[in-house]
Structures are given as structure tokens and as C-alpha cells.
Amino acid sequence: MSSRISTAGMSMVATNAMISQQAALSRLQNQVALGKRVVTPADDPIAAVHILELQRAQSESDQYGKNITLVRSRLSLEEQSLKDTGTVLQRVRELTVQASNTGTLTDKDRASIATELAIRLEELTDIGNRKDSNGEYMFGGYSTTTQPYSLDANGTVNYNGDMGNRLVQINTSQRVADSHSGYDVFNNVPAGNGTFVVGANAANTGSGSISVGSVVNRAAWVPDDYKLTFVDATHYEITDSATPTPTVVASGAYVSGSAIAFNGVQVEISGTPAAGDQFSIDPSDSEDMFATLGKLITALNTPSESSSGGAQLTTALANSLQQLDQANDHVLSVRAEVGARLATLDSADDAAADLKVDLQTTLSDLRDLDYASALTELNQKLVGLQAAQASYSKISQLSLFNYI
């Protein structure tokens, strides 16, 4: 016996079927209207969380994009300043070479060169005090609101900044410094030839001048403050800084212009030193560019037409030239570092562009609606609903009462 169906039951079943078809249609219609497959987290909880994460990553990546733009503009500004520094140093070098013509120049000529050098020193100081578009000092390290370089009463340019290096995040794992501190650019220039620095005692009476020297065997070099002393006009000895009695590390007969070698380094002394004249050979530390220029200006302003004065000047000019070359090399190496940072930014930019496409694609895959399949489903459901409606209206007309 087939199960009996009640009249109300039949119409309930038919109505329920139509209601559920309509609910499905409404959901599909909403998806089609919004173009999204996942509208609320409950539609697909796992995808929903993934979508949020992707959107977060997009927003993060946009911020890194802004960071990169900012660092690039700051580094470009720095690059310009470094280029200007190079130009100043070049001019200073020319003037120094010009001043080295000790034979033809008078104290007065040198004084006029010193006048131009003083202007160059001012120019260099101004570069060190440059501000960025934000009104902050570029070369102050972290102390961006303190003027980094100031001239004191003694004519010395002092650094008031610090050695801070501000970093900016350019992607999830990389940070790039957006500047160099003034210390790194202008101050931390290796003194002398980078291993040692020579000097002539101001009290020297002879006309002996010392060359900047060179390293012959780095392994044999023992860093110490050495003194080269002329025991008489033709003999010298080199002592270290041992106390109370310095040890003699080398000694010999003096020949003007020939190399004096000890502990893996060599220097040349030329001219006629007097007994008791002393030269220093100290390990390199660092010397700032302003001090280099300051020393040069002082040397050129010092009367040096006497033989001993000439020797002092020669030593000073030789040292200055070496120091200027060091400064130039130093600025170039800082510029190279800036260039490398800019290259890092470019590759970070490229990677960010790739990431952006990837994020967008994944996001679209997860969130967006596949219109083709959605519309197909919509059509199927529409046909289903129409069929249900048509069949219900036909069947419900059937009744035995029609025939009584």
C-alpha cells in the first residue's frame, strides 16, 4: 500500500521546495550583484581569513612602497650633496697643488690662496648643514634638529650630531638607511695613508721635510707612536713610545731623499735636517675634512720663506694632498654606498610589483565570483523553480470534488 499523502502535506512539500529554490536564487543573485563568492566569513571561513590576510599584506605592501619612495628621495638628495662635496674637494686640491709651487710663490700669494680655501671651507660646512625637504638636517645622524656643524672661536668646525643611522623598512625583511651621518661622510676620513700619519716637529730648525710614506709589509707593521730623531745632521734613530726608556727600533745614516724603512713601512726625508730635529710616525686614526682644510689654511697663512719654514710647509702640503685624496676616496666610497642602497630600493620595488600582482591574483581567486559557473547555476535554479511552480499549479487543480 502506498503511503497516503494529505492535501495540506502535499502543498507544504511543494511550497517548501519552492522556498528553498528561492533562497538559493537569492544567495546567487547577491553573489552575482556583488561579484564576490565570499561575502561574509561564514560563506567560507578558511578563505575569509585568507582574504583578510591578503588584504592586510596588500596594505602593508603599499606602505612599503611609500617608504621606498621616501628613502629614494632622501638618498638622491644625499647623492647631490656628496657630488657637491666632491666638487669642493677637487677645487681645494687644485689650489693645494697650486700652493705647492714653493719656489715661485711668496707668502702673500699663499695667503691669497688661503683666502679662497677659507671660502671653500665655508662652502663645505654649508653642505654639511644642509636640510632635507622635511626641514631636518641631513647629516646630523639622529640629531636632525641640531645644526650638525658649527665654527667655534678657534676656527675649528665641530660636529654636534651623532653617529646614528636612521633605517627605514622597505619590505618585511629589509631595512635601508635613508642617510649617512656627518660623522660617516665628513669626519671619519682615515688619517695619513690609512696605516700611519707623519708629522714634522714644529720646533725643527733644519730644512728636512718628511714624505707621507708607504706600507711595504703590512704584517710587519706594529702600531705605535714612533719618533724619528736626528742624533746629528747625518744620523737618525727611530724610537717607539715605551716608557720610561723608549726602545730604538731602527737607526742609520741619513741620505737625503732615500727611503728609511722600519717595521714594514718606509718614509723619505729630504733636505737638510739639523741635529735634534724630530718627525713623528703615528698610527692612523681619522681626520675630518674641515680639520684638513683648517690645517692647510693655517699652513698657507704661516710665513714659510725661511728654509725651516719651507720644510714645514712642504711636509704640511704633502700631508694635505694625501689627506685630500683620502677625503675624495672616502666621499666616493660613501657615494658608492648610496648607489648600492638605491639599487637595493630598485630591486625591492621590482619584487614589490611582483608581489602586488601575486596578491591581487590570489585574492581574486579566493574572493571573486566565477561568473560563468554562477550564472549557469542561476539558470539551473531558475528552471527548477519555474518547473516546481508549473507542476504545483497543475497538480493542485486536481480534485475529486470537481466531478461530484
Binding site: S3, R4, I5, S6, T7, A8, G9, M12, N16, V39, T40, P41, A42, D43, D44, P45, I46, A48, V49, L52, E53, Q55, R56, S59, E60, D62, Q63, Y64, K66, N67, L70, N134, E136, G140, G141, Y142, S143, T144, T145, D162, M163, G164, R166, L167, V168, Q169, R175, D178, Y183, N187, N188, P223, P283, D285, S286, D288, S399, L400, F401, I404
Partner: protein, 631 residues
């Protein structure tokens, strides 16, 4: 002849009643809860004669209703489940929709906040950038708060719903009790005949009751029906009904519970009521709403903790150490209203990584205290003794007990429940945002070695000497002293050097006499190192034992709500099928089929006409006899 007449009349009466019953069925084809009725026909007692038993006609013995108790109980249990899941999914869906908007959602606000920290890191002295950071912090706080506000309003609606559910259920119970009384008396008046329409009415009320909560019924011999709820508590017994009313939670007077009020007293049945729209509402509260509020609170706590700690290690534009950035609500400790002792409990959050989204109950055992999860009742192990110096420690909480509690006294501890609602951005002056490091390390210009200093980090911002100038001096390439103190430390390139609450790293080979200074960064307005750490720390895994970052926790929270909603929705859909099936089964037994009734109408009409013919035949037989004998 008289016999024939009687038989004919019995047929007329019986078919008249059968036709009435059929018409009653037709008339009630659309009445909800109506069970079709059947007039049961039965032969009358036959007369004995020498030639056997002679039939005496027909009677309607009774009118029964077509009803199946087993199917009815199936309908009730499935409608109870259906309205449970429907209620659950409807309410969960509201939270779900709240979280759905991805542009204004939690993770988006969190990332915007981190982005604004990056913005300040890019331009540490820029007041507009700092102002942006503050307003993003406000936005994030407001976002958390508005979620919490919404959840709180859901909580209030749950309370209202409990009120109205309790009233409805009490009313239904009252009506069932009245019908019980009517049915018993109707049966008495009719000598035990079933009062079908009253039975239908009562069953319909029980059906309706089942959509509100799970009930069980027991049929009594006098015709009344007893109804039980929860774990067998009486709701209706015979003609008397117990009232279900909304009560107050022992720990929280604003939280509604359900209490059965009988003549013998009141019983809290909140935990034992299941199923139906009431069960769905109660479970929505404990399974979705409470954890959601706790999770939002936990996010707020984590954000504030992480941010405050790192912010305190930084220096603001005015050169001062950073203060707290966010403030959040503390741990809520609620005393049981039934406590008789004078015990006190104070709880604080001590370990963010162990903090959970659960609530706890701390109960005095007489010999000590025991901690259990509020939702499951599972025991939670504690260490410590509960004193201020050695507090109980469990799940990231420190609990200090005081006073004298009576055995059985209990306290509800809610670690994060109200943290978000009272969350605030403490800093209102953009200059007070600590973006720089309070200390700066530098190499002395005259250094002759190749060593470099870096990796500056604040370990303990509360160290009094943090910003006192300190000098690290190398006595030779492998040994150093700090600030002239006599202790000589061994140097290894890249290892940590800790002093005065800071840490630095020196790398490379120093020369004897080289020195490095660590000093106050009071001029370092352009320093962004603390901002970088802030941005970083917000992405660090700090929750769930250091495995989950804030972003991930926000994602997990959203997915848990999504999963719960999705589950409730699909369960409701599945239950709907079960419900429809059981309704179809019930309709198959009890429903009226018009075609069937039409056929019966014809059948009984024919039988009635035939019975009338019997009377006509009896008449004509009588006439025949009269005319035959009257001549």
C-alpha cells in the same frame, strides 16, 4: 418489520455521523495540528433465533483520531533541534555580518595602525605623521570598542530573549495544564470517549513548546499529559503548571538565568535546558558570544601590552621616556552572591603569552582554593600560594586571595571580558609618542681599531642609570671595562654588552685604548629606531605561548565566528530536512486528504441512501401485509 425499520434507522444514524465526521475532516483540512477523525462503525448485537443470529444494524462505536505518538515525538524532537540551530545560526550570523566587512574590519584597522607607525618612522619629527598615528590608534581602539559594544548589545538582547522565552513557556505550560483538566473532565462526561479536538489542541501546544525547548512527555491514565524539561524537572503535572522565570546569575546580576518556580522552591535550570530557540539562545551566549567578547578583550590586552612595553623603551620628542600608549580594563573578579565568608580575590594579568579567552571560577575548598574553567568545569592547575608575594599563577593570571572565605564560596574571574570596552589611547600629545631610542651609541673619533658599535637596545627602561653617560674602554683587543669600573670583561666580536639597562653589540677588532660611548639620545629627535621596533613587535607572535601574532589572532577570531556560524547554518539546513520528513510522516498519518474524504462522502452518501431504501422497503412490506389481510 419493526426490526427492518430499526436496522434502516441505525444505518441512517450511523452514516449521518460518518458524513458529519467526514465533513469535519473536510472543514479542518487547513487547521494546524488537526488530526483527521474516523467514525468507527460496528455491528449491533445480533438477535438469537432458531435459525441463527439475525443482525440488528450498525452503530458508530466511537470517533477516533488518526494519531501516532511515536511520530509525534519525532516531530517534537526534530522541531526542537531545528529551532535550536535556527536560533543559533540567526544570532551567530549577526556577529558574522558584523565582522564581514573587510575594509573596516579588525585586520584592516590593525594594519593601518602599523602603517602609520611606519609613517612616523619615516619622518620622526613630523607632527602630522605623529597625529596620523594617534588618530589611527583612536580608530583601532574605536573599532575594537564598537565590536565590543555590538557584542554587549547582543548580550542585552539575549537577556530580553530569555525574558520573553520564559514568559511564553510559562504561558504554554499554563494552557497545557488547563487542557489537561478539560480533557480529564470531558472523558469523564462521555464515559471515556476521547475528546479528539481537545487532544489535538493540547498536542499542538506541546508541539509549540518543543520549538522553545526540549521537553519530554508522559501520558497519564486519566488522559492528562505530564511535561518535563531539562534533566527531568516538572513543567506540567496534571492540572498544575510550574512557572519558568528569568533570574539573575549568581556572579553577575545583569546576566539573566532561568529559574523554575514551583510550590517547593526555585531551581536554576539554565545549564540543564537544551534545544529549541531558548537552548539555542543560551548556547549562543556561552559558545559564541562570551568567547567572542573575551577574544576581542584579549586582542585589546595584547595590543596594549605589546605597544606599552616597547613604547616605554623609547624616547619622545621632548626627550622623555615614553609612557603608556594604550590603557585597557583590568581583570574582572565577580563574587558569588551566595558567598557567606569574607574572602577577597584580586587578579591581574601577568603573562600575555599564556592568556586565554576563557573565564574561570575560583572556589574555596576549605583547605585551599581550586580553579576551574567556567564553561567546562575542568580543573586548571595553579602554582603559588595565593599571597601577595607568591600569588596563584595559572593561564597567564596572578591571583591573590585574602580574608577568610567559607568553604564553597566562589569567585568568577574574567581575564579579558571588559578589557576592550574601557580601552583608551592614553597619549593625546603627538610629541609624546616615543619614536626614538633613549640612548645612542658612538665610537670615539680617535679610535684606531676597526671595531664598530651597534645593536643598541633598551632592556630595562626603569634602570635609573639608563641614560647616564657610559664609556666602554678597551684595555686591549680582547678586554674592556665599563665607565672606569674595576671589572674587566672579555670581549668577543658581536656578543652582547649589557649595562645600565641597555644592550649594545661591538663587532670587529678594537685597538687598545679605543673607546665607545653610550649616552642619552636627548638630541636624537630624528631617530626612529623605537618606531621600527614598535612596527616590528606588532607583527611578533605574542599570544598562545608565543605562536600567534595580533594579526593572526584577529584572523583566528574571525574564522572561529565564521566556522561557528557556518556550522549552525548547515546544521539548521540538515535539521530542516529531518523536520520536513517527520512532518511528512505525521501528515501521512494525521493529515486530511480531500480526495479520500470526497470518496468517503460519496460512499457514505450511497450507504445513507440505501439505508433510506430499507425504510421504504419496510414501509412497502407493511403495506403489502395490510392490503393482503385487510380484504
Amino acid at each position: 418489520m419493526a426490526d427492518l425499520m430499526n436496522v434502516g434507522v441505525s444505518g441512517l444514524l450511523a452514516f449521518q455521523r460518518a458524513l458529519s465526521t467526514t465533513s469535519h475532516n473536510i472543514a479542518n483540512v487547513s487547521t494546524p495540528g488537526y488530526s483527521r477523525q474516523i467514525a468507527e462503525l460496528m455491528t449491533r448485537q445480533a438477535d438469537v433465533s432458531g435459525s441463527g443470529y439475525i443482525g440488528n444494524g450498525v452503530d458508530v462505536s466511537t470517533v477516533t483520531r488518526s494519531y501516532n505518538d511515536f511520530i509525534a515525538s519525532q516531530v517534537r524532537s526534530s522541531s526542537s533541534s531545528l529551532s535550536y540551530f535556527t536560533s543559533m545560526s540567526t544570532q551567530a550570523n549577526r556577529i558574522n555580518n558584523l565582522l564581514g566587512d573587510s575594509t573596516t574590519g579588525l585586520t584592516a584597522s590593525l594594519q593601518s595602525f602599523i602603517n602609520s607607525v611606519q609613517g612616523v618612522a619615516n619622518t620622526p619629527t613630523s607632527i602630522p605623521a605623529r597625529q596620523t598615528l594617534l588618530s589611527q590608534a583612536q580608530t583601532l581602539t574605536q573599532r575594537l570598542q564598537s565590536f565590543d559594544d555590538n557584542l554587549q548589545s547582543f548580550d542585552k538582547q539575549v537577556n530580553n530573549q530569555i525574558d520573553s522565552e520564559a514568559a511564553t513557556i510559562s504561558q504554554l505550560a499554563q494552557n497545557i495544564a488547563q487542557l489537561n483538566q478539560q480533557i480529564v473532565s470531558a472523558r469523564g462526561q462521555s464515559g471515556g470517549q476521547p475528546p479528539n479536538d481537545l487532544l489535538d489542541q493540547r498536542d499542538r501546544l506541546v508541539d509549540e513548546l518543543s520549538t522553545h525547548l526540549n521537553v519530554s512527555t508522559v501520558q497519564q491514565s486519566d488522559g492528562s499529559l505530564n511535561v518535563f524539561v531539562g534533566s527531568g524537572q516538572n513543567l506540567v503535572v496534571g492540572a498544575s503548571a510550574t512557572r519558568l522565570v528569568a533570574g539573575q546569575d549568581a556572579f553577575d546580576a545583569t546576566r539573566k538565568t532561568l529559574v523554575l518556580q514551583s510550590a517547593t522552591g526555585a531551581t536554576d535550570v539554565t545549564a540543564s535546558l537544551t534545544g529549541g530557540s531558548l537552548g539555542g539562545t543560551l548556547d549562543f551566549r556561552t559558545q559564541i558570544l562570551d568567547p567572542a567578547r573575551n577574544s576581542i578583550g584579549r586582542l585589546a590586552v595584547a595590543l596594549a601590552d605589546v605597544m606599552n612595553e616597547q613604547h616605554g623603551k623609547g624616547m619622545d620628542l621632548e626627550g622623555n621616556l615614553g609612557g603608556d600608549f594604550f590603557s585597557v580594563g583590568g581583570v574582572d573578579v565577580r563574587e558569588n552572591s551566595g558567598n557567606t565568608g569574607l574572602g577577597t580575590v584580586a587578579a591581574t594579568r601577568s603573562d600575555l603569552s599564556k592568556l586565554t579567552a576563557y573565564d574561570y571560577v575560583l572556589k574555596s575548598t576549605g583547605t585551599g582554593w581550586a580553579l576551574t574553567r567556567a564553561d567546562t568545569g575542568a580543573a586548571v592547575p595553579m602554582t603559588g600560594t595565593g599571597t601577595a608575594t607568591d600569588p596563584f599563577v595559572a593561564d597567564g593570571l596572578s591571583i591573590v586571595v585574602g580574608g577568610t572565605a567559607t568553604t564553597g564560596d566562589s569567585f568568577l574571574i574574567q581575564p579579558t571580558r571588559t578589557a576592550a570596552s574601557s580601552m583608551e589611547v592614553v597619549i593625546d600629545d603627538p610629541e609624546k609618542i616615543a619614536i626614538a631610542s633613549p640612548i645612542v651609541a658612538a665610537a670615539t673619533a680617535a679610535n684606531k681599531g676597526a671595531a664598530k658599535i651597534g645593536g643598541t637596545e633598551v632592556l630595562d627602561a626603569s634602570d635609573a642609570n639608563l641614560r647616564t653617560d657610559a664609556t666602554i674602554t678597551f684595555t686591549d683587543a680582547t678586554h674592556y671595562t665599563i665607565s672606569g669600573s674595576a671589572t674587566v670583561y672579555n670581549y668577543a666580536s658581536g656578543s652582547n654588552i649589557d649595562a645600565n639597562g641597555w644592550r649594545v653589540k661591538i663587532t670587529g677588532v678594537p685597538a687598545a685604548g679605543d673607546s665607545f660611548t653610550v649616552k642619552s639620545n636627548a638630541n636624537g629627535t630624528g631617530d626612529n629606531s623605537n618606531a621600527l621596533k614598535l612596527a616590528d613587535v606588532l607583527n611578533q607572535p605574542v599570544l598562545n605561548g608565543g605562536t600567534t601574532s595580533l594579526n593572526a589572532a584577529a584572523g583566528q577570531f574571525i574564522s572561529s565566528v565564521g566556522v561557528a556560524t557556518n556550522q549552525a547554518k548547515s546544521s539548521a539546513a540538515a535539521q530542516e530536512v529531518v523536520y520536513d520528513d517527520s512532518i511528512a510522516a505525521q501528515q501521512s498519518v494525521s493529515g486530511v486528504n480531500l480526495d479520500e474524504e470526497a470518496a468517503k462522502l460519496l460512499q457514505y452518501q450511497q450507504a445513507y441512501q440505501a439505508a433510506a431504501q430499507i425504510i421504504k422497503i419496510a414501509q412497502s412490506l407493511f403495506d403489502t401485509l395490510i392490503s393482503a389481510t385487510g380484504r
